[in-house]
Point group: C2
Chain length 255, copies 2
């Protein structure tokens, strides 16, 4: 188990705030799901986070409106706020999908060059007037042409779909997934807490890449893009590490 | 007949050199076809050209390598040189076609902006990096995407396929074709020389537009582009004015 956690954590310690978002997003996304402080501490302890750092991050998450808490006797119970749940759900198709979000890319040609890339943009601009998107055509001032999967897309375009840093992240993460696959074996046999820890670290590692990846089909990515392989490996591993029920987790703590 | 010639000539007198190229291209494109000086003079006289201007233009055409001549007794016989015939034949699909040269346009995206338009270019560049062509894709450094006929193409692109001058020329020429259609009647009854004069003026008027028109399908032209209508009207009129044989023309002169 230590090897698995080492493998998933890599040489960086994860940002606590962000890792807690993943914990809630993976284990407590349902409307009524709540995590006790005790369970959170047990999970984060196995992920080698310091209790003090977890306490600070929980406080910040509450202040930021991601989670809310209540006391029930000696227990603190935490759950996603409606807005936190909405954001979690919005991200989940990108994180848990087994295949690329779409098979179809569209070319967009605009007569205006005021087309910066950004988080809000659904178009990846690779020239001042030309971009890629998966959205169906709307604006009559723009030319929209489909790019079927068998279209040869030149390298200079693909290279602007994802930068070297993202390429490297995907390559490194794939190597860790291969090692994790070996370590897990074909029929992993973990308790609920261990399964939850591995799932969360797996989702968290992939989430960093998946949410930075433009929502475009794999055929417009550079030839050495490994994100598609990561995506299907993550999906396969998550199937082998099925999400434990909350009462299983509580029983595991009590044991 | 005078009305017809007026209608075809419009208010501009044609450039003699260029009109002679049309005469040879329409009436004497076959390998062995020759036109006598007498026949040329008869035709150009009906087109209201001055004999002196015709003599000068014939001399220049010979100097430019378009035509060659020989004497046969009292006659001068003129024919296209092999190179003149090649150029005539190259232009003829654009001039005589009943329909647009192709149904399929391709978008080309280049990573270099050194893409000037010009006679030699087979691509109409409407942005520094983006152009239209009918040629099948070749260069792996460029993205090529087909533009099917039902694609909505924005006006700012269409407007760069042909400029206002060409739009106006096509509109004016169509108006003359409508008038010519009326004047000719459904079953025109002209002698060989008259038929030849009308054909040549018709081809000549259309040739000025056809050879300036980018070789692209009509659906990427501006909505008020009348060139497609001109093209089919010209083809229909030429069918009603079938090309006379050279011996018919000679017989007509002798008559």
């Amino acid at each position: 188990m230590d090897d698995l956690v080492d493998c998933l954590l890599g040489d960086q310690s994860p940002r606590v705030w962000s890792l807690l978002v993943t914990i809630f997003g993976d284990l407590a996304r349902d409307d009524t799901a709540q995590l006790s402080g005790q369970l959170i501490n047990r999970l984060t302890d196995r992920m080698r986070l310091k209790p003090e750092a977890v306490r600070v991050a929980l406080h910040r998450l509450r202040k930021d409106g991601w989670i809310e808490s209540e006391r029930a006797g000696r227990l603190s119970l935490y759950r996603l706020t409606p807005s936190g749940r909405t954001q979690s759900r919005a991200a989940s198709p990108l994180i848990y999908a087994r295949t690329a979000p779409t098979d179809m890319a569209w070319l967009v040609l605009s007569n205006r060059a005021d087309t910066p890339n950004g988080r809000a943009s659904e178009i990846v601009w690779f020239l001042p007037h030309a971009g890629l998107t998966t959205r169906p055509p709307q604006d009559p001032d723009r030319l929209h042409l489909p790019i079927p999967a068998d279209t040869p897309v030149p390298d200079w375009i693909k290279q602007q779909v994802c930068d070297d840093k993202l390429l490297r992240m995907a390559r490194d993460f794939e190597a860790r997934l291969v090692r994790l696959d070996d370590l897990c074996g074909p029929r992993p046999c973990f308790g609920p807490i261990e399964t939850a820890v591995l799932r969360v670290l797996l989702v968290h590692g992939w989430r960093r890449i998946a949410l930075k990846t433009p929502s475009l089909p794999d055929h417009v990515f550079p030839d050495d893009w490994r994100g598609g392989h990561c995506r299907s490996r993550v999906a396969t591993l998550l199937e082998r590490l099925p999400r434990p029920q909350l009462d299983e987790l509580l029983a595991d703590i009590a044991a």
